[in-house]
């Protein structure tokens, strides 16, 4: 069985030359499966990895090492296939999606900026229906304010943003990553990253 870590442009594969390739889960070496202009980075596993914190961290580390010197589309944790052909067939059938996504995230990383946690955590637990609706209204207002504040603070350093209920994902080029961190931290926002661009890859 093969565990998929990431997808990249086949040409990018050259960029890993000269860098020690990270090892996959269970200390198996990574291999590259190529189909046309796309390549998939995989390693052998006996079974699909269990969703444990250790495995998440190990998987994440492999992807972060890979994104250090190339643009990669991170796979979802635990994506497996029985055969090499299955992976190659996916590279063919979703070719256009992957190329679009690679273009979008080229040379970029993701930062996550969270809505500040409420001072009183019990505020998060609505009791009545009215409170629940008010909570939803507040939540969407907070996220809009956060996105606007980010926009002001980072002055065009972000390529794209995506909002979830409690955070804003920001796509930023590696080149601008330090400036982005500096500006967001200066405004007291809670930022994590750089992450692989998970929120900007539709897999």
């Amino acid at each position: 069985m093969l565990l998929l870590y990431a997808i990249e442009a086949a040409l990018e594969d050259d960029l890993h030359n000269g860098h020690p390739q990270p090892r996959g889960l269970a200390d198996e070496p990574l291999s590259t499966l190529t189909s046309g202009n796309l390549a998939a980075l995989v390693s052998d596993v006996d079974t699909a990895p269990e969703a444990t914190p250790q495995n998440f961290v190990a998987y994440e580390r492999v992807i972060e090492r890979l994104m250090g010197h190339a643009t990669v589309l991170p796979a979802r944790f635990g994506t497996t296939a029985e055969t090499e052909n299955e992976i190659k067939a996916m590279l063919v059938s979703r070719h256009d999606d992957f190329i679009d996504a690679l273009r979008r995230v080229h040379g970029a990383v993701e930062f996550a900026v969270r809505v500040p946690a409420p001072a009183d955590p019990t505020e998060d637990e609505p009791g009545s229906g009215t409170e629940y609706m008010q909570h939803l209204i507040d939540q969407s207002r907070q996220i809009n304010e956060l996105a606007a504040e980010l926009e002001r603070a980072t002055e065009g350093l972000m390529i794209e943003t995506r909002r979830t209920a409690k955070s804003v994902a920001c796509l930023v080029t590696k080149y601008n990553a330090d400036a982005f961190l500096e500006k967001t931290r200066a405004t007291g926002l809670t930022v994590t990253g750089p992450w692989p661009p998970y929120s900007f890859v539709n897999q």
Binding site: R76, T79, T80, A81, E86, M90, D97, P126, S128, G129, T130, E131, Y132, M133, L136, I137, S140, N202, Q203
Partner: protein
């Protein structure tokens, strides 16, 4: 790969639950947004807001239970519509 339908009964059930819950979650979010618009525009009475809130709160709770029961996460309840982007 992960969304392929196989003939394994357990996986088939899981796949069906995944599809049904994705659609329910989409409808739930659409209705919730619609309700928020109406509340913000001030066209609902306090009693109506309370009733809507109770309903959505119960729906959200039930949805959480179903997600746990079928081992699904929030991001599983989305669908890539190709050139149209994500469903939600």
């Amino acid at each position: 790969m992960s969304t392929r339908i196989t003939t394994d009964p357990e996986k088939l059930e899981q796949g069906l639950a995944h599809l049904v819950l994705t659609i329910i979650e989409l409808l739930r979010q659409l209705m919730e947004r619609q309700a928020l618009h109406r509340i913000e525009s001030g066209t609902l009475t306090a009693e109506e807001v309370e009733r809507l809130g109770q309903t959505f709160m119960a729906l959200a709770e039930r949805m959480e239970e179903l997600k746990v029961a079928f081992g699904l996460e929030d991001r599983d309840l989305n669908m890539n519509l190709g050139p149209l982007g994500d469903l939600m």
